[in-house]
């Protein structure tokens, strides 16, 4: 298939309004003539940014899972729940559905996102680790769609903290792990936003010929 890309034709597509335009001066900072959005043939320094966010997310992933997300203190007991122990508690207390949702959204999903984005980034950089572009694009789309649900646990902790707050008998506070966890989610979202899926096709095309 000999499809022509906009870049090869010397054109730039606006990511906001999809207008394809021919840039006047290729070097200058360009703006879309219709919606005035900054115009880039490819997202600027896409790989560098993606890596930066990814590495930061990887580092924070450890405290996010080790530190407690939610501390509950009551007259009778006080407990600190990490994400994993929260899932375990929910499973044991007879809500397997909720436990599965949290397990998927808070543990599996960030992990898959980190691994997936790393694989995509590596695929662009190294020939040996290439993922077929269409498969790569699928992974990217999926990451984009499901990535947001990781915030569930953080929100839930916040709601609980707002509801249960009588210092003497029972109090739920948002633990230090919540910050790390929230940052992991935000960073992976930023990483996936900075990644440009068009690069996947670019490298494939470069290989093909």
């Amino acid at each position: 298939m000999t499809a022509l890309t906009a870049r090869e034709a010397g054109l730039v597509a606006c990511l906001a309004c999809h207008l394809v335009s021919r840039p006047a001066q290729p070097r200058a900072s360009m703006r879309c003539p219709r919606c005035r959005a900054p115009l880039h043939s490819r997202k600027p320094r896409a790989l560098g940014r993606t890596w930066a966010f990814l590495i930061a997310a990887f580092i924070l992933y450890i405290p996010a899972n080790v530190l407690p997300v939610m501390d509950s203190n009551s007259l009778f007991m006080s407990s600190s729940d990490t994400i994993l122990s929260g899932v375990r508690y929910l499973w044991k207390s007879g809500s397997p559905v909720t436990a599965s949702i949290i397990f998927f959204a808070s543990i599996l999903e960030p992990m898959l996102k980190l691994v997936g984005l790393t694989a995509l980034a590596l695929s662009v950089q190294h020939c040996g680790l290439r993922i077929p572009a269409r498969r790569g694009a699928q992974i990217y789309r999926m990451i984009h769609v499901v990535g947001r649900w990781s915030m569930t646990d953080l929100f839930a902790a916040g709601i609980l903290a707002a509801l249960v707050q009588s210092p003497t008998l029972a109090e739920i506070t948002v633990g230090p792990g919540a910050l790390a966890f929230g940052l992991v989610v935000v960073l992976t979202m930023l990483a996936s936003l900075s990644f440009d899926p068009r690069c996947l096709y670019d490298t494939e095309r470069a290989d093909c010929g």
Binding site: M1, A3, A13, C17, H18, S93, S95, L163, Y201
Partner: protein
Amino acid sequence: MADPLIACPECDTLQREIPLPRGGHAECCHCGEMLYRSARGGLSHIVALSIAALILFLIANALPIAALDLGAAGYAETTLAGTVAAVRDQGRFLVALMILWTGIVAPALEIGAMVYMTVPLWLGHCPEYLSVAFRIAPMARVWSLMDVFMLAVAVALVKLGDLATVSPGPALWAFGALIVVLTLIGTLFDPREIWLHAEANKAGRMVAEARQ
């Protein structure tokens, strides 16, 4: 005039934009990504839904999202903003900021931008900061996590369930409706339509001025 060019946002392949039948959508011939959709019902649908979303958003923020009933011992309820305030008061400033941004500000920006764009266009005007609103809307949509928040309320209710009687607040209904409306907007809204209308309105005004 030839059909305008369009580039696939995913693989950058240049294609010609062809008119679609009602309800149809175009896919990229190279990677299969959906390129655009035919506008269903046009701008008036989006205007109606945007206004509905705005009203529902206000309701969702004004009413409590969850209530904790301890019988005679007391009663506690929290709104969306109350959640943010509670987390902030616990010293988790950044976490509070994240909830504020994804739960309140981003949805507000998204809905606000939609209303700002579509209502004047529908009435035949061209809003002054159309391009700004146009760029804000998709960015805000990425960060707007209202649906996630709804799930979180459910999770919180389950987690507290064995401790006390927890009931979903009335705002949750508004939340649910809002999420449906936002999803509808997402599927019905075609960003290109904004510019079609904007250009048509501008042209119409120029014609009117010329007539004067």
